[in-house]
C-alpha cells in the first residue's frame, strides 16, 4: 500500500514538474515574463527532488540493507553539489557565463552517464532494447562530460591553442568505432553469448574510458571561435543522454525534460552555425581557427585615425547612432562606460540603438546579457535581422571591440573564409567609427575591409579609456546638466 501511494505521489509530482518546465521555457518568449518562468520551473525541480525520496519505499531487496547509508549519501550529495554550485553560480562574472554553461552541461552529462553505469554494473537492464538505450545514453553522456570539460578549459583560457595532429580525424573515428564495438560486446556478453574474453564489468570500464577519450579528442582540435557551436552541441547531447536514461529508469519526466533540451540544443546549434556561415560538420571536422590565407593585397588605402573626442562630438551632433559592440567591449570591461556615453547622447536627443550579431559573444546571446548587466534597457537592443536595414539611414555606426561580424568581405570577397556569413552592415552608415586596440586582425585572423572604407575612421586605444575620453568630450560641451 505504501508502495502504491509513493508511486502515485512520485508519478504526480514528476508529471507536474515536466509541465512546469515546459511552462517555464514557454515564458522565456519575452524578457518581461522570463524571470517568472524560471521560478516556476525551479519549484517543479524542488518538488521532484523531494518526491524522489519516496523511492525508499520501493527499493530493490538487494539495496534494503544499505538504505540508511544510501539516504545519508543522497542528502550529502544534494547538499554538497547543490550548495557548491549555487554559491559559484551566484558569484560568477557574466563574462564567464560560457564556461559555466559548459560546466553545467558536463555535470548533467556526467550524471546521466553515472546513472547508466549503475544500471550496467548492477546488471539491472531488462532486455536488449533497454541495454542498448542505456549504452547509448552512457556514451552520449560521457562524451558530453569530457568534451564539456575541454570546452570549459578552452573558454577559461587554460587550454590556449587548438591542438591538432595529422590523422587526428582518423584516430578519433577509430576510437569511436572501437567504443561502439565494445558496446556491442557488452550486449553480447549480457545476453549470454559464451566464449567471450574478460568479465562484462571490465568491458563496461573500457566502454566508459573510450567514450570519455572520444569527448576529449573530439573537442581538443576545435578553435576558440567555434565554442558557441560546441557548447550548444553539448547542451543537446546532455539533453539526449538524460532523455535516454529517463527511458531506462522508466521516468517520463526525465524523458520529456531531456528531449525538450535536446531539441533546444539542436535548434541553437543550427542557429549558431548559420550565423557563422558554417555547417555543424564543418565546425566539428575542419580546422577553422587556424589563421587563414590573408587577403591584404586586395585591400587598397590606409586605416585613417581620429581622436576619440572628435568622434564623440560628431556623434553628439548627429541625429542617429547605432552601437555595434563585440566581445572586445566586454574584454575591456567597458559596457558600463558605453552606456554612460549612450545616456549622454540620449539626453542630447540623439537616437541610439544597439545592434547585436548572433556570435558577438562567446556564446549565443552573451552580448545581450552583458549589456543588460550594464543597465541597457532591452528595448534599445536589436538583433541583426531587425536592424540591418537601418544602417543605411543612420548617421554614425560606432563599432567597439567587434571585427569579423562587420567585415564587408563576407558579402563581396569570395576568397574570404567568412564569405557568405551574415554580417552587420555597419559599413553602410554615413560615418563609421571603429574603436580598436591597435592595427591588427580579428579573433579569426581575417583582414577587415571595413577599416579601409572611405567612410570609416579608427579610434585607437583601449575601449574603456576611449569611452572615458568620449564622455568627457561630450560633457565638456556643457550639456552635463541635461544628463
Amino acid at each position: 500500500m505504501l508502495t502504491s501511494i509513493s508511486q502515485l505521489v512520485i508519478g504526480g509530482v514528476d508529471l507536474a514538474a515536466a509541465a512546469l518546465f515546459l511552462f517555464g521555457l514557454k515564458r522565456m518568449s519575452s524578457p518581461a515574463s522570463a524571470p517568472g518562468g524560471i521560478r516556476v520551473a525551479g519549484l517543479g525541480m524542488i518538488a521532484a527532488v523531494l518526491a524522489s525520496f519516496l523511492y525508499v519505499f520501493s527499493v530493490d531487496a538487494a539495496a534494503r540493507p544499505h538504505l540508511m547509508v544510501n539516504i545519508a549519501l543522497a542528502i550529502a550529495a544534494l547538499g554538497v553539489g547543490g550548495a557548491g554550485a549555487w554559491f559559484v553560480g551566484r558569484k560568477v562574472a557574466m563574462t564567464a557565463m560560457p564556461q559555466m554553461v559548459a560546466i553545467y552541461n558536463g555535470m548533467g552529462g556526467g550524471a546521466a552517464g553515472s546513472i547508466a553505469a549503475v544500471e550496467l554494473f548492477g546488471a539491472r537492464t531488462n532486455g536488449v532494447t533497454q541495454l542498448v538505450v542505456t549504452l547509448a545514453g552512457a556514451l552520449i553522456g560521457a562524451v558530453s562530460l569530457s568534451g564539456s570539460l575541454i570546452a570549459w578549459a578552452k573558454l577559461d583560457g587554460i587550454l590556449k591553442a587548438p591542438l591538432r595532429v595529422k590523422g587526428q580525424q582518423i584516430a578519433n573515428m577509430a576510437v569511436m568505432l572501437a567504443t561502439l564495438a565494445v558496446g556491442g560486446l557488452i550486449v553480447a556478453k549480457v545476453t549470454g553469448v559464451s566464449g567471450l574474453p574478460l568479465a562484462a564489468s571490465t568491458w563496461i570500464w573500457i566502454f566508459f574510458a573510450g567514450a570519455l577519450a572520444f569527448g576529449v579528442l573530439m573537442t581538443v582540435p576545435i578553435g576558440g571561435a567555434d565554442m558557441p557551436v560546441v557548447i550548444s552541441i553539448y547542451n543537446a547531447f546532455t539533453g539526449l543522454a538524460v532523455g535516454l536514461e529517463g527511458f531506462v529508469l522508466q521516468n517520463p519526466a526525465l524523458m520529456i525534460a531531456g528531449m525538450v533540451v535536446g531539441a533546444a540544443g539542436l535548434l541553437l546549434t543550427l542557429l549558431m552555425a548559420k550565423a557563422m556561415n558554417r555547417s555543424v560538420a564543418n565546425v566539428l571536422f575542419t580546422n577553422f581557427g587556424t589563421p587563414a590565407k590573408t587577403h591584404t593585397g586586395a585591400i587598397k588605402g590606409d586605416e585613417r585615425p581620429i581622436e576619440a573626442s572628435d568622434a564623440a562630438i560628431k556623434m553628439r551632433y548627429s541625429s542617429s547612432v547605432i552601437m555595434v559592440p563585440g566581445y572586445g567591449l566586454a574584454a575591456a570591461r567597458a559596457q558600463q562606460k558605453l552606456y554612460e556615453f549612450v545616456k549622454l547622447l540620449l539626453a542630447a536627443k540623439v537616437s541610439v540603438k544597439f545592434a547585436i550579431h548572433p556570435v558577438a559573444g562567446r556564446m549565443p546571446g552573451q552580448m545581450d546579457v552583458l549589456l543588460a548587466e550594464a543597465g541597457v534597457p532591452y528595448d534599445m537592443i536589436f538583433q541583426l535581422d531587425d536592424i540591418n536595414d537601418e544602417f543605411a539611414t543612420t548617421d554614425v555606426a560606432l563599432v567597439i571591440g567587434a571585427n569579423d561580424v562587420v567585415n564587408p568581405a563576407a558579402r563581396t570577397d569570395k576568397g574570404s573564409p567568412i564569405f557568405g556569413m551574415p554580417i552587420l552592415n555597419a559599413d553602410k552608415a554615413k560615418q563609421v567609427y571603429v574603436v580598436k586596440r591597435g592595427q591588427g586582425k580579428g579573433y579569426a585572423g581575417i583582414v577587415n575591409a571595413l577599416f579601409y572604407g572611405p567612410n570609416c575612421e579608427m579610434v585607437y586605444g583601449d575601449a574603456q579609456a576611449v569611452l572615458v575620453q568620449m564622455i568627457e568630450a561630450v560633457r565638456g560641451l556643457g550639456l552635463a546638466a541635461a544628463a
Binding site: A34, A63, G89, S114, A253, V260
Partner: protein, 121 residues
Amino acid sequence: MVMNFDIAMTGFVALYVFMLAAFAGWVIIGNVPAILHTPLMSGSNFVHGIVVVGGLFALLNAATPLEQAIGFFAVLLGAGNAAGGYAVTDRMLAMFKTSDASPKRRRAAHGRRKAHGHGKG
C-alpha cells in the same frame, strides 16, 4: 484490490513521448528571442538538471560500494547542474529591464504583461 501506479513505457509509447517532447521543445524554443539565448541555454541546462531525480533513484537502489560511489557521483553532479543552472539563469533574467523604469510605470507594465500573457496562452 491493490492499486498499481507503476509506470511502464516500452517501445512505441516511449518513442511517441520522445517525438512529442522534441517537437514541443523545438516549437517553444523557436519562439525565444535571440536576446534571451544565453539565459535560454542556461535555463535549458537547468531543466536537464532533472537528471538528479534519476541519480537519486540509482543511489537509493545501490547495493554495492561501487554502485553507491557512482550513484553518489550522479546525485552530486545532477544537483550541481540543477542548482547552478538555476542560480545563473535567475541572475541573468533579473538584469533585463525596459526603458520605463519608474516604479509606477513598471507596475503598470507588469499588469499589461499579465494581460498579454493570458491573451497569448
